[in-house]
């Protein structure tokens, strides 16, 4: 049995504070990484296995264009208050 009085739990010895802005930034980075890796893998498959340069070029260009518009939308939204 301890002979000292119990001390109340005062929490962790460090403070964690995550702002909405920081969380949004980290989510953006994670999504961008996912998008970049996924796109790179898919483009590699188009180039190596599609056997049709015209279709592959068109598919890649359309994907990059639509993704670019959406990324712009995301970044503009992130910069808004």
């Amino acid at each position: 049995m301890p002979d000292q009085p119990l001390t109340p739990f005062t929490g962790l010895p460090f403070h964690i504070a995550i702002s909405t802005g920081a969380a949004t930034a980290w989510a953006l980075v994670a999504v961008l990484l996912f998008w970049a890796v996924y796109t790179a893998v898919a483009v590699y498959h188009w180039v190596k296995y599609s056997h049709a340069a015209s279709v592959a070029s068109l598919a890649i260009v359309v994907h990059l264009a639509v993704s670019g518009v959406l990324l712009l939308f995301v970044l503009v939204g992130a910069l808004l208050p």
Partner: protein, 189 residues
């Protein structure tokens, strides 16, 4: 000017055609079947726009409808991220649709199955090994659009080639059987 990635030598590396071998047809799933596969992505894409109206018609949850508003910066960011993920996934589905293909030549049938990006299966059967070609068309809509499945059974193998949801399966079967017949005559069978 030739783009290095798309140089013909890169594009033909996977299929080395034999001398005198020509590609007769490349067969993929019918566009209607692919459109059906895209439907879940379309539904997922519009979900955020339906979220706020759905919340507002449920009185206990109506106060939370503002959270689903896209007028704020965070709302637009979340919506953009959502749409980017859905779009990238749908484009990935199109990539897999295009990479899953049957290549019919005058000597063989090649089947390419792209299970996922890191699981690719390429197999072929010589036409003189083909024993049976079966087609089936099921359902009213698929009968109207002439969409069905085709199975090719070869000699000496348990597995058979099969592709579901292609357009004009009977026509493809006729082409295969015609080429099989020509091969048999050439081989003197």
């Amino acid at each position: 000017m030739t783009i290095p990635f798309f140089h013909p030598s890169n594009l033909t590396r996977e299929f080395e055609l034999e001398p005198g071998e020509v590609v007769l047809a490349e067969v993929r799933k019918h566009w209607f079947v692919f459109t059906l596969e895209l439907l879940p992505f379309a539904i997922i894409a519009v979900l955020p726009f339906a979220f706020a109206p759905l919340l507002s018609i449920a009185p206990p949850l109506a106060n939370y409808a503002n959270l689903a508003s896209f007028g704020t910066g965070i709302g637009r960011t979340v919506l953009g991220i959502w749409l980017l993920i859905v779009w990238t996934s749908a484009w990935g589905a199109f990539t897999r649709y295009y990479l899953n293909v049957w290549v019919l030549t005058n000597l063989r049938v090649m089947e390419v199955i792209q299970h996922n990006y890191f699981h690719r299966e390429v197999s072929s059967v010589l036409l003189n090994r083909v024993q049976d070609v079966t087609t089936e068309v099921k359902g009213a809509l698929f009968s109207l659009l002439n969409i069905g499945n085709i199975h090719v059974q070869s000699a000496g193998t348990v597995d058979e080639f099969h592709m579901d949801g292609i357009g004009g399966p009977a026509a493809l079967r006729d082409i295969i059987l015609k080429k099989v017949s020509e091969q048999s005559k050439t081989d003197g069978v």
